[in-house]
Symmetry: C2
Subunit: 228 residues, 2 copies
């Protein structure tokens, strides 16, 4: 008999209208918790007892090696959930990037919903599926793209993801550090920084501040992202 499915989704979005309702019914009532920047929310390997939904702020989800190397799996932002799926233990750590508020939910509740509400179970599967596709796409980026392609791909997809959430048209806000981004893209901070500078010099982006980047020429950028 299979254990009740307990998803460990790193960052599940609530994309289309209607899906957020699914998440809400799945999670049930939760406790709102606040975290300071850098504070650990869950630790890789710990027993999987809660899942979380980001209310405000940004959370980095990452795996690490004993010697300190990290791979940032994903960034979770407002309305994203994580810890939904998984058998027994967290497969990644989660830390608040800056001050963040999250709602915490007992995962025991999730198992019951899945067994009792096929509609909700199907919704959870859809979320898991989205997450899988994101992970696979990122595998392609990590394994087969150049530094410039990595950075541009990330900028475009992150811009799409956070569309309208932050500052003006065509401006991306990166709430995390260069180190976080480097650990997401499989690069060093220096290479990320250099690549931004280079795109800046080429007039493709504008570095308004270190965290605010204007996408000046989406066409050429998209062409770089596709490897041409």
């Amino acid at each position: 008999m299979a254990a009740p499915a307990a998803l460990a989704l790193p960052s599940v979005r609530a994309p289309s209208p209607g899906t957020s309702d699914v998440l809400e019914s799945l999670l049930g009532i939760g406790v709102t918790t606040t975290f300071r920047g850098g504070q650990t929310i869950v630790l890789e390997g710990d027993p999987l007892v809660h899942c979380y939904r980001v209310i405000s702020g940004t959370v980095r989800l990452f795996k690490s090696i004993a010697d300190g190397r990290r791979q940032v799996i994903d960034f979770a932002e407002a309305s994203d959930a994580f810890g939904l799926v998984g058998q027994t233990r967290y497969g990644f750590s989660a830390e608040a990037v800056g001050p963040a508020t999250l709602s915490r939910h007992n995962r025991r509740h999730l198992g019951g919903v899945v067994m009792g509400d096929p509609q909700a179970a199907a919704g959870l599967l859809d979320l898991a599926c989205l997450e899988l596709e994101r992970a696979r796409a990122h595998m392609l980026l990590l394994g087969r793209r150049s530094a410039e392609e990595k950075v541009v791909c990330f900028l475009l997809s992150y811009a799409a993801r956070t569309a309208g959430r932050f500052a003006g048209e065509g401006v991306v806000h990166l709430p995390f550090s260069r180190q976080d981004l480097a650990d997401h893209l499989g690069l060093t901070i220096e290479t990320v920084s250099r690549t931004f500078s280079q795109l800046n010099r080429q007039g493709l982006i504008a570095l308004l501040t270190p965290q605010h980047i204007a996408l000046l020429r989406p066409g050429p950028l998209a062409r770089i992202a596709e490897g041409r």
Copy 2:
């Protein structure tokens, strides 16, 4: 209303006893199909109408870029399934590595099972979850490990996965080409080959044939895999 959850799991194992029953009830009756080496089974972007289970042979699941670069997501072997999850389209291509036989199942059936059998839905979620964890672990490998670590990590985990399936104790059988492996590890064939030769010279492995590798010293190999 959420679309019926249709998973696009790349390679779902049937790990523990009991889980295989879940897969069988999920898939229902299927049509056995045979493929020649190199033959395409599903194409990334095509409408997701069937899911497959490998009966014999090996299947490579991969995403690619327009210019030909590939990232092999996973290898699917006997009893592994793929195409279980996904909304509307395949997120990856699948090709037979050598001659292979698979059972093909209509995915329409899956949606019904998920809505009607919470037990089976939970099992499917568990499978999706396993797949997610595999994908995340591979992201860490692709983004943050050296060539040597990549090769050794792969050898050890593949050996564990195919334990007892092939030739003698401590011998790994790699049914796919160096190119496939390189595309899985984010390396070139030359680097993979050189790394094998180097491990061979160090006495850690023995290259019995290009496809048969003996793991001579598991201890030191594990230490390399951990980055020490």
